[in-house]
């Protein structure tokens, strides 16, 4: 019996992504622990994990939730952390040609950095709609399952670890480890340094408004740095 295109695509996508997916495990565990050390109950933590399904947005908003920041600021921060997905979504959109709208919403919900980086090329190339869908969904659903399971393990591990171990510091490390590969590009480093310095300078501003100003200043600095470095090349 011939294998269906969906299953053939699913198998290929799954095995292409499998080695990369190991990297999700510490993230999920750290996120689980960070949610507990912020003060969430295990039910709230897993609720957040199921609803949000995004390590960066979860880790980035937890300090704000813990500090009682206003809701709009938390949402704007989450948006800023997720803006990259608009670009990913635009880049990968052609991979879903021929797929119905409800399924597109589901695929969109599951979009992660890892699957995007791993699957983009073939998704754009292959013609068969069913093959592409399998190729995208298998690694995406695998990521989702790993994320939920290991976050749950983190949630329960955090409860048995003493408070003075400062587990919340794991969240800071996690955010920095996400930043490291980005900051290898010069303008990106400029954006990060400017934004970080601005956030420190404006730390006394009420409602943590300094955070939003810092993000905007950082984006402008990165953009300016890119512009100048390009002018330098052509001059």
């Amino acid at each position: 019996m011939p294998v269906s295109p969906f299953r053939a695509g699913a198998r290929e996508g799954f095995f292409a992504f499998l080695p990369l997916s190991v990297g999700l495990i510490p993230w999920a565990m750290v996120t689980g622990m960070a949610m507990i050390s912020t003060g969430l109950t295990p039910t709230q933590a897993m609720g957040m994990n199921l609803i949000v399904f995004a390590g960066t947005a979860q880790l980035g908003t937890l300090p704000l939730i813990g500090a009682g920041a206003p809701l709009w600021l938390i949402v704007v921060t989450a948006l800023a952390l997720n803006l990259r997905f608009i670009i990913f979504s635009a880049a990968i959109a052609q991979g879903f040609r021929g797929v119905g709208t409800p399924l597109r919403w589901y695929c969109g919900h599951l979009l992660t950095d890892g699957v995007f980086a791993c699957c983009l090329e073939k998704l754009l190339k292959v013609d068969d709609r069913r093959w592409r869908l399998g190729y995208y969904l298998a690694p995406s659903i695998w990521s989702w399952a790993l994320w939920q399971v290991f976050a749950l393990i983190g949630v329960f591990a955090a409860g048995s670890i003493p408070k003075h171990w400062s587990l919340e510091f794991m969240a800071s490390i996690a955010l920095l480890v996400l930043l490291v590969p980005l900051a290898k590009q010069r303008p990106m480093l400029v954006a990060a340094l400017t934004s970080g310095a601005t956030a420190v300078l404006l730390r006394g501003v009420p409602l943590r408004l300094g955070l939003i100003v810092a993000i905007v200043v950082g984006i402008m600095a990165g953009f300016a740095a890119e512009h100048w470095s390009k002018r330098g090349e052509t001059a």
Binding site: T77, R97, F169, V200, A214, I215
Partner: protein, 108 residues
């Protein structure tokens, strides 16, 4: 609204702030295109947001700018581990070990 309800509302809104950007162009398909200037500017948002969240956590102690503290040492160790090795666990192990080790040494 109770604190519990407010928290769940927060989760739902963060969820929307995640799924809407992710699904945006996948759902819209080829009908809409983003201006390239906007695309280029948006690329800097994650790095800027990450740095803006982490920097005060690491460099400010009790409201004062205090760059020389055990957290910064932990961060340096974690970043070095991330730069030098591909093992995804190492930055966490290195960072936590330096933070807890220094605290134990300094008696903090």
């Amino acid at each position: 609204m109770s604190a519990e309800a407010a928290l769940w509302l927060t989760f739902i809104l963060i969820g929307l702030a995640t799924t809407l950007p992710r699904a945006s162009f996948i759902v819209l398909g080829g009908r809409v295109r983003l201006p390239s200037v906007v695309q280029r500017a948006l690329r800097y948002a994650p790095a800027a947001a990450l740095a803006a969240i982490v920097a005060p956590d690491v460099l400010v102690v009790g409201g004062d700018f205090m760059p020389l503290n055990p957290k910064l040492a932990g961060v340096v160790a974690a970043v070095a581990a991330a730069l030098l090795w591909r093992n995804p666990w190492l930055p966490f192990i290195a960072g936590m070990a330096v933070l807890l080790g220094l605290r134990a040494l300094l008696g903090g």
